[in-house]
Amino acid sequence: MAALLTAETSDYSQEMVTAPQPAISQEAAWIRRAQRSDSRAFEKLYRMHIDKVYGLCLRMTGNVAEAEDCAQDAFIQAWNKLSKFRGESAFATWLHRIAVNAVLGRMRKSKREQDRIQIASEISPAPASIGDSGNLRDLSDAVDRLPEGARHVFVLSGIYGYSHEEASNLLGIAVGTSKAQLHRARRLLSQQLTEQGFEA
């Protein structure tokens, strides 16, 4: 397992960093223009990254409405913080961090808010399985049903390939907690999927 995660570690970041050169230079130009308050350039950045940001929000919240709100919050925060972006990391990585914070921020707002989100999730199950099919859809649905802490770690580590160090840093938890939550997530997923006759 460790080997698998290690192999996946930072693959996502690397993928973003090693995006095609023309796309990067185009993105850099849009970033510079957006930093000068050009909202049209920022819209280009939005179009380029929304699927990644929304995907992460949807996986983490397990709810469409919440994911939309979190993705919107993330881009609004990105706009407000854009002057501080120095290009030390890939823009997508920087956006990811903001998106994770947006999700966590909403989750932490209040217990009542969490309850509301939970109820909303139950009323309107997230179609996080968009783009997934067959066994993957079952797995996707099972991930949505994980408890919040386990789901967050599993999404970041298992789906997005972040290392425990990166995931724990993003989530503001200890590395040991991240490992424990991932173990818990795997156990719960395995149980759920076994009950459903899932064949990995």
């Binding site: 397992m1 698998l4 995660l5 996946e8 996502y12 510079r32 223009r33 930093q35 000068r36 308050s37 050009d38 909202s39 920022f42 819209e43 939005y46 179009r47 929304i50 699927d51 990644k52 929304y54 995907g55 992460l56 949807l58 996986r59 469409v64 994911a67 939309e68 993705a71 919107q72 881009f75 609004i76 706009w79 407000n80 002057s83 996080a128 968009i130 783009g131 997934d132 066994n135 993957l136 797995l139 996707s140 991930v143 599993f154 298992g158 789906i159 997005y160 390939g161 795997r186 156990r187 997923l189 395995s190 999927l193 990995a200």
Partner: protein
């Protein structure tokens, strides 16, 4: 849960989609949120003007400081920001003279060359200050759209354009005079 099942589970997880398209376009709401502060008609003129002046004085002082203190180390740098036509407006009722725009574009082009001679730190400082000035230009222009006849705003905008030219002139080590109101 055995290791084989566990590994297969994680392998499957890695295949789940990381990019999902939202069911609706979220941009209109985002745009409304980020444009709202700019469009606010209830802006407080004196506060906004005072803030802009503070920004300009700070930017100018900072530029003077780094230009007199900063070295001229040669270092490879990326191309600097370009000028957008939208910056050379004067509210919604006036257009800046062609002479002014030409001078501004020339200064910007020469400044780009001179920036290459600055150390990365000094260059970053200069670019950051120019960004502050240009943001102020956008803000003042936006306010002028609401109050096109506000003389204070017009003067402030003129001074801000002038400040931008001064910074570019300092960076470029050029000798052109800063444009006066009569040139516009």
């Amino acid at each position: 849960m055995n290791n084989e099942t566990d590994d297969k589970l994680m392998a499957q997880a890695a295949q789940l989609s990381t990019e999902i398209t939202p069911e609706r376009d979220l941009w209109p709401d985002i745009e409304a949120a980020i444009e709202a502060p700019r469009r606010r008609s209830s802006w407080t003129p004196y506060l906004a003007q005072a803030a802009a002046i503070v920004l300009l004085v700070g930017a100018s002082s900072s530029i003077t400081y780094v230009m007199t203190k900063g070295g001229a180390n040669v270092s490879p740098v990326i191309p600097t920001m370009g000028l957008d036509a939208e910056f050379t407006s004067f509210g919604s009722s006036y257009e800046l003279g062609q002479g002014f725009q030409n001078a501004r574009n020339n200064l910007a082009a020469q400044m780009d060359l001179e920036l290459d001679r600055l150390s990365p730190d000094v260059r970053a400082e200069v670019e950051e200050n120019l960004a502050v000035i240009r943001s102020a230009i956008i803000e003042i222009n936006s306010a002028l759209e609401d109050e096109p006849n506000n003389v204070l705003l017009q003067d402030l905008l003129l001074k801000t354009y002038r400040e931008e030219l001064t910074v570019m002139r300092k960076v470029g080590g050029l000798t052109q005079h800063v444009m006066s109101r009569n040139d516009i």
